[in-house]
Amino acid sequence: MTAPKTHHTKTYVLLFLLVLLGSVGNTILSKGMKDAGDLDISHFASLAAGAARVLTSGTIWAGIAMMLAFMVCHMLVLSWADYSFVMPFSAIAYALVPLLAYLFLHEQVSTARWIGIVLIVLGVVLINRTPHRTTPQGTPD
């Protein structure tokens, strides 16, 4: 194992990617599906046209690619970090989404939601104060 510093750096880099790819990928995928329109399955021709729209949509493929990258990051970070560390940490997405909606889309944010956001951030801060890995190393490196 390298110095703990690098160990931590790669955890944060991957967690950042995880949150980013997860939320952006999800949004892009649902936008792509919405853009492709409702699938009309009453006629074979319109069904084929709908399927073609889905399959040729760059947005959908970008979304799928992001979800795959998300999965790979998830696998990588779990190869060393605790599940009980990664899982609550990635909950920060639930704080970021309403926050970004407030900042960029000027959505109203209620008091309850503000409190929730603060609680999530506090929780993540606490999680961050615990060791990234508490299980013994499986394979000697």
Partner: protein, 524 residues
């Protein structure tokens, strides 16, 4: 009640799946190298870990039920409710993964749980709704469920392409007199199949100028020995030898015995068949005729069942003729055969030498598959005999049948993980049921179910009845949906297992190699 059960289902499958995934990743060990090539090889290694697949299946189940939940309840209920998963995950990580959670981490998790609840219990900002998610899922499932139906069509086409020619050739493939190379027929045996004498005798009755038969057993006490002795007495004109193989070169005793038989064989053309195979008198002529083409490196055969209508035996037969032979025909049509089947493995000594002989395969589980793959990799073609051989499917219990199928599925997953996963799209029944469940109207649901039944039986008929003339399949074809359902569960189960029972010993599989769990010195 429904609310609680779906919530519990979402939380448990999601958490369980992620715990399996974490376990799989911890088994692989920490990643240090983030070069793209290293990441690709890490992902490929991960795909061989059974826990990963269980994890992915559970997470998929959780994802779909989560979306279903979103279609029934508002997001402002679903997300706070499913944030219970943080607590479930923490408990699971402690119990199953042995992670140590101190007070700080527990406090953090609880804060996050409440935070998500508070932040999302309100109605969502309008821009963030998932209104059409369930529609999206419905479309994806309906589109994917068409996959098996398409596969059945390809199966019918492949069967037509093969049997159109094969039926013309059957029984008429005769090599010219000067092209009948002498043949060594191998019979590696272990124990006695029902009808063994008739099976063996069918080889003695071959209409072929020169061939010898070599039987291999590991033990003179083997119940097959008296049968072979009777054969020698009944066919004095035939060259029949019984070889007792004492040495054991690897975990696969059959391959170990084959190594010895190759050394004993007097002739260059080798024909190896499982002990439960029975053939027509023109069989060796057909095999020899196939080898007239120097590009042919191996010959294998499809098979059909012989008059055992016992429930499980018939189901085994229906699965073999309609499903397995069908899959082999599709593979032949799409990419050429790159494997052989135990029903017939015929090759030349020279081809065998080029791939390092059977000695290179003594630990491999799926020897028939590997032999074909290795010969094909040398640039030779593997051909199918125009006529199938007969196979005696034994009467057995359902449990024995399922264990056998599971062993076979684990073997395939081990050597071709990608292809094995792709078999997802050959399982028409579960897809038809899923499509019917999600279909927006009763007509579409009926269309998918009807499509499955019509195309499935059409393919079984084309392959098994029209093509193979399988008498058992013709009379028991209605067992097919039941067999398909069982086979789907066997396929699912094969992802979670890596240990097989074979001839009384336990092995784990690693890249097709059998590693003994409890090493035993020889058979008793």
């Amino acid at each position: 009640m429904r609310t609680a059960s779906i919530l519990i289902f979402v939380v448990l499958t999601g958490t369980g799946g992620e715990i399996c995934l974490t376990h799989a990743m911890k088994l692989l060990g920490e990643v240090h190298d983030f070069h793209p090539r290293a990441i690709v090889s890490f992902v490929l290694r991960a795909l061989r870990v059974g826990w990963l697949w269980i994890g992915v299946l559970l997470m998929t189940a959780s994802f779909f039920s989560f979306l279903a939940m979103l279609s029934w309840f508002p997001v402002s209920f679903v997300i706070p409710a499913t944030s219970l998963a943080y607590v479930a995950g923490a408990i699971g990580a402690k119990i199953f993964l042995g992670e140590q959670l101190n007070g700080t981490r527990w406090a953090g998790i609880l804060l996050i749980c409440f935070g998500v609840g508070m932040a999302w219990a309100d109605n969502l900002p309008a821009s963030l709704h998932y209104p059409s998610m369930i529609t999206v899922i419905r479309r994806v499932i309906l589109a994917l469920a068409a996959g098996p139906l398409f596969y059945y069509l390809v199966g019918i086409y492949s069967a037509w392409r093969f049997f159109r020619v094969a039926h013309r050739q059957a029984g008429r493939l005769q090599p010219a007199k000067e092209e009948t190379p002498a043949i060594s027929v191998f019979k590696p045996i272990c124990g006695l199949d029902p009808g063994a004498y008739e099976n063996f005798a069918s080889f003695c009755r071959q209409d072929y100028p020169e061939f010898e038969m070599l039987f291999a057993v590991n033990d003179l006490q083997d119940p097959a020995v008296p049968v072979v002795q009777k054969l020698m007495a009944d066919f004095p004109g035939r060259s029949i030898r019984l070889i007792v193989v004492a040495e054991r070169l690897g975990a696969n005793t059959k391959v170990s015995n084959l190594c010895r038989l190759v050394r004993e064989a007097r002739h260059d053309l080798l024909v190896i068949t499982d002990s439960d195979v029975q053939v027509e008198p023109g069989y060796l002529q057909s095999v020899a005729a196939m080898f007239r083409d120097p590009g042919v490196g191996g010959v294998t055969a499809l098979y059909r069942g012989r008059d055992n209508l016992q429930f499980v035996a018939a189901m085994d037969c229906v699965g073999s003729s309609a499903a397995f032979c069908g899959a082999a025909l599709v593979a032949r049509e799409l990419e050429g055969l790159k494997f052989m089947m135990g029903s017939t493995m015929a090759t030349m000594k020279q081809r065998l030498a080029e791939i390092g002989g059977f000695e290179a395969m003594v630990d491999l589980h799926s020897d028939d598959y590997e032999l074909g793959r290795r010969i094909a990799a040398r640039g030779y073609r593997i051909e199918l005999l125009p006529e199938p051989v007969w196979m005696a499917f034994p009467s057995q219990t359902l449990g024995a049948y399922l264990r056998h199928e599971l062993r076979w599925a684990i073997g395939i997953r081990n050597i071709r993980p990608g292809g094995h996963f792709g078999m997802l799209f050959t399982h028409g029944l579960p897809w038809a049921i899923a499509a019917a469940w999600f279909a927006p109207s009763a007509a579409i649901a009926a269309g998918y179910l009807g499509g499955y039944f019509v195309l499935r039986f059409a393919m079984a008929w084309a392959v098994g009845v029209w093509g193979l003339h399988d008498p058992v399949l013709r009379r028991r074809v209605w067992l097919l949906p039941l067999r398909d359902l069982l086979s789907f569960f066997v396929w699912l189960a094969s992802f979670g297992m890596n240990r097989i029972e074979w001839r009384g010993s336990s092995f784990t599989l690693e890249k097709g190699r059998m590693i003994p769990v409890v090493p035993r010195a020889g058979r008793t």
